[in-house]
């Protein structure tokens, strides 16, 4: 299944270390551009901090809006890293090799951006930072463990530390290669980071075990983080939110939008760093097949939420669903969301020809993520503007202001900048994984056909 080129070690080292060791001109332009957008966003946020949250688009009923949608979106994207690397490492799938580190790095930066947003959207963020964590011993004021908003920081803190350390542990062998290839101050830094990694067979055995054991440990954490994010909404007794399907629905939605983000990331990596030998159409083919299964599972859980909304027959639930489907502006956003997240990409992914065509995969993955961003918005905001029987008028829809848009766009720039800087300092594709692929590559001759095989002791 794997198109096997003849790659020998020096060629692998040269190709994958080209970007960390020599900085092309465009790097400075792109990094500068992204940094300036982030500076603008920082300025906007200081503006909001000084004058008050009134500058954002919130009203008295719709107290959560764009920033929380963005938080759930980025936590969703961050889950793809663990989903791809952990499950594929456990299943020993051959096509995981160039994909794992890029996905895990996206996990770390997407999660860091996501963790920023609940702090940005609270009224007094300087207090949120230290009151959410249990450290206030002298005044004896502790966080209330019964609240879903305390499960959130504990889950995201666990997930952030464990995925960052996971990336570092798998990075050590490549740091050793970098240490051997650099001189002067770069050599000193890499030598310290590589901690004297020699490459004895014992260290390699522990590296492989570490990959599998940490994936097995991080997988439950990944499921629990997004379930707790979904309990932020499901714990409230609002008619559209209080459904028990939210945890699996959010986790599958996270995997769906996350894996599409990995497809986008891999396309960009291949295009920008010219890694044609390493990220081959095979990887997009396998990711496309995985996405078909994940998207269908996501549709199942969405329909569960939809059926059970109609099931009870309570006028509150029916009102929220009719608001989502028939009233402006949701009656325009709802069909766009359904079509872009399922009914455009999945039929396209069914055909091998499209799965192996990179531009088709790139645009369908962008389309999925647009749909999934809208899905979170349609999930979160309409139940807030629900009209009780005794109130007179409906809350009209949430109207985001320019401050909302800037903060949302800045989050995309922050993640791209993070991944770019990481790729500048460390190799984005694990060298030893690709080399191991070459070592284990075998050929089986069945009749006249040469079937690619792999050593599986």
């Amino acid at each position: 299944m794997q198109e096997r080129y003849e790659l020998n070690t020096p060629k692998i080292n040269d190709d994958l270390l080209r970007f960390p060791l020599h900085t092309p001109l465009w790097f400075w332009l792109v990094a500068g551009g992204l940094a300036s957008v982030l500076g603008l966003a920082g300025l906007t946020y200081l503006f909001v901090l000084y004058f008050g949250l009134g500058l954002l688009g919130y009203t008295d009923r719709i107290m959560w809006g764009f920033l929380i949608t963005n938080f759930v979106f980025w936590v969703g994207i961050s889950h793809a890293g663990v989903m791809i690397s952990a499950i594929l490492r456990l299943a020993q799938a051959e096509w995981r090799r160039p994909v794992t580190r890029a996905a895990e790095v996206m996990t770390v930066f997407a999660l860091a951006t996501a963790a920023l947003f609940p702090v940005l959207h609270t009224g007094r963020p300087w207090r949120t930072l230290y009151w959410a964590f249990p450290y206030d011993y002298n005044r004896g004021i502790w966080p209330d463990v019964r609240s879903a908003l305390i499960w959130d920081p504990s889950a995201i803190f666990t997930y952030l530390t464990s995925s960052t350390l996971f990336v570092f542990i798998c990075l050590i062998p490549d740091l050793a290669v970098l240490r051997d290839r650099t001189r002067g101050w770069q050599h000193a830094i890499y030598a310290v980071l590589a901690m004297g990694f020699q490459g004895t067979s014992r260290q390699w055995k522990l590296q492989t075990i570490a990959g599998i054991l940490l994936s097995a440990l991080i997988l439950p954490v990944f499921v629990s983080v997004h379930s707790i994010v979904s309990w932020d909404f499901a714990a409230a007794i609002l008619p559209g939110w209080h459904t028990t399907v939210f945890p699996p629905y959010f986790v599958i939605g996270a995997v769906h939008s996350g894996v599409s983000a990995v497809v986008t990331l891999m396309f960009l990596l291949r295009k920008v760093f010219k890694l044609e030998d390493y990220i081959t159409p095979d990887h997009f083919d396998a990711l496309g097949r995985l996405l078909v299964v994940v998207a269908t599972a996501w549709l199942y859980f969405f329909l569960m939420d939809f059926y059970m909304g109609m099931f009870g027959g309570e006028e509150a639930e029916l009102a929220v669903w009719s608001l989502r489907m028939y009233y402006p502006p949701y009656n325009v956003l709802f069909p766009i969301f359904i079509i872009t997240s399922y009914f455009i990409p999945v039929p396209v992914w069914l055909f091998r020809k499209f799965r192996r065509n990179l531009t088709v995969m790139f645009w369908t993955s962008i389309c999925v993520n647009v749909g999934m961003w809208l899905e979170r918005f349609i999930l979160i905001v309409p139940p807030l503007s629900f009209k009780q029987a005794f109130t007179f008028l409906w809350q009209d829809a949430y109207s985001p202001r320019w401050t909302d848009w800037i903060l949302v766009i800045a989050s995309f720039c922050l993640v791209t900048l993070g991944v770019l800087l990481f790729a500048k300092v460390f190799p984005i594709i694990p060298l030893f994984d690709i080399k191991e692929g070459q070592v284990l590559k075998q050929e089986l001759r069945i009749g006249r056909v040469r079937v690619p095989a792999v050593i599986r002791e």
Binding site: M1, Q2, L90, A91, E94, P220, V223, S227, W231, A234, A235, I237, H242, T243, T244, V245, F246, P247, P248, V293, T296, Y300, F301, M304, D305, Y307, M308, G309, M310, F311, G312, G313, Q442, L444, I446, V451, P452, A453, V454, I455, R456, E457
Partner: protein
């Protein structure tokens, strides 16, 4: 760690001859016992029905039907999943799982009996319209469709094996069933395509059928119960029990029919990882179903939570949670247990029993309040007492399960316990090859 223990590798011809011979060694004694038990169960059902039992007592028949719809209908699905994901470890136990497609023959009649027992449907919360025939018509059509797809899949997977039997000179029913299968590459490609698409259809119709069962036979009966994760939970615990059932049957067949050389330990090792994942998912779904009503504290939520979990069926809930999650999780995380045959099989048996108890908890609770008038609210303090089984109910449960066993044994008389054509693909794909002078390494091919 593949098994190299001395067993001389089986040559394809020898495998064909031996596996076909196995179909004649199906012990008629066991066939007789299961047949008698099935008939006793049927008679008990007729006596039970004529005794005009209360709806609460019908809960036992419904729970054994839900168990069969869950475990035995889901067992063949692992073949489709591993075929889609090119899971190499499952090749030996695919036939053992596929033989469970015969459950359609038992569950369809039992289902038609139960559909008739539903209370009246006027303005009851349901996913169908207000029409009393709603659940009766749609569910029965779906049930029959599911059973027919299952039987079609059973016939298709056995097709190459019938051709082998015809080639070995068998003139009986199997020759007629082979119907012109020559094994040309075009036929193989068509077979694979059909198996994947029909398997996908079977999987999806199985999952959505569980939505209909749970909403018609459980959630619509309990006033105020609206848990949207429940259909997913019902389908998933069905998968888990299906995989457990496959492992138990594979271990038994391996021992009784001496198939040590055909079903290696790899199959159990691969399946145990999947079983561990499914057990953790079982806990995850149960937890998401428990935390929300507990946190919401609305009157109807507290009522159905006490009815289902902490009220009259509290001990059933604790027992089924322990059997379905705690024991499998605690057993399957240890490597030595996973890399053995007895370990996963034992855990599979525990999960199957746990699943039956879980279905009893759900359907006894929901059928015991089925007669509450539609508009009334369930009150958490005075819930109906636990209904204990009588002799008839126990006989019906044993009868239904042994009826499925009877059909399974019949199917085994027709088809070899390990599918010949998949065993040969396994021989083709896996080869021992020296690596670096004196190190034996198993090389596994990954066809595109």
């Amino acid at each position: 760690m593949a098994e190299h223990h001395g067993a001389t590798p089986v040559t394809p011809e020898e495998a064909t001859r031996e596996l076909l011979a196995k179909t004649r060694t199906v012990s008629t004694l066991w066939l007789l016992i299961l047949g008698v038990l099935a008939v006793v169960g049927l008679v008990a059902l007729i006596i039970f029905a004529m005794g005009h039992p209360t709806r609460a007592q019908w809960g036992y028949v419904m729970s054994v039907l839900a168990f069969l719809l869950g475990a035995t209908q889901a067992a063949p699905i692992i073949c489709f999943i591993t075929r889609l994901a090119k899971g190499y470890w499952s090749l030996p136990i695919r036939r053992v799982a596929e033989l469970f497609y015969v459950t359609g023959l038992v569950t369809t009649p039992l289902f038609l009996v139960m559909v008739a027992q539903l209370p009246d449907w006027t303005n009851r919360p349901t996913i169908w319209t207000n029409w009393k025939g709603g659940p009766v018509f749609y569910d029965s059509v779906f049930m029959i469709g599911l059973a027919l797809t299952g039987l079609a899949m059973l016939y298709l997977t056995g097709l190459p094996d019938y051709a082998e039997a015809r080639a070995m000179g068998d003139r009986g029913i199997r020759a007629r069933l082979a119907r012109g299968w020559m094994g040309t590459p075009r036929q193989w490609q068509a077979l694979n395509a059909v198996l994947v698409t029909l398997g996908a259809f079977y999987l999806m119709s199985y999952v959505y059928f569980h939505l209909f069962i749970t909403s018609d036979f459980a959630m619509s009966l309990v006033p105020g119960w609206k848990s949207s994760v429940f259909p997913g939970y019902h389908a998933l615990s069905g998968f888990q029990a299906g995989l457990g059932l496959t492992l138990v049957t594979a271990a038994l067949i391996r021992k009784w029919m001496h198939l040590e050389r055909y079903i290696p330990m790899d199959a159990f090792w691969g399946a145990s990882k999947l079983l561990l994942a499914l057990s953790l998912l079982f806990f995850y779904f149960t937890w998401s179903e428990l935390i929300l009503p507990w946190y919401g504290r609305q009157p109807n939520e507290i009522a159905y939570l006490t009815l289902l979990m902490f009220g009259p069926y509290k001990d059933l809930f604790i027992l089924s949670a322990a059997l379905n999650w705690l024991i499998p999780w605690w057993f399957l995380i240890w490597n030595p247990i996973r890399t053995s045959i007895a370990g996963p099989a034992f855990v599979g048996a525990i999960i199957v029993v746990g699943n039956l108890l879980d279905r009893m908890r759900i359907y006894l609770a929901s059928w015991s309040v089925a007669d509450v008038p539609v508009g009334a609210h369930l009150d958490a303090d005075h819930l109906p007492p636990t209904t204990y089984p009588g002799i008839l109910e126990i006989l019906i449960i044993i009868g239904a399960i042994s009826a499925v066993g009877f059909c399974y044994m019949l199917a085994m008389k027709l088809m070899p316990p390990v599918s010949i054509w998949e065993f040969k693909t396994r021989l083709l794909l896996k080869v021992e090859r020296p690596f670096l002078a004196h190190h034996e390494v198993a090389v596994v091919a990954k066809p595109r």
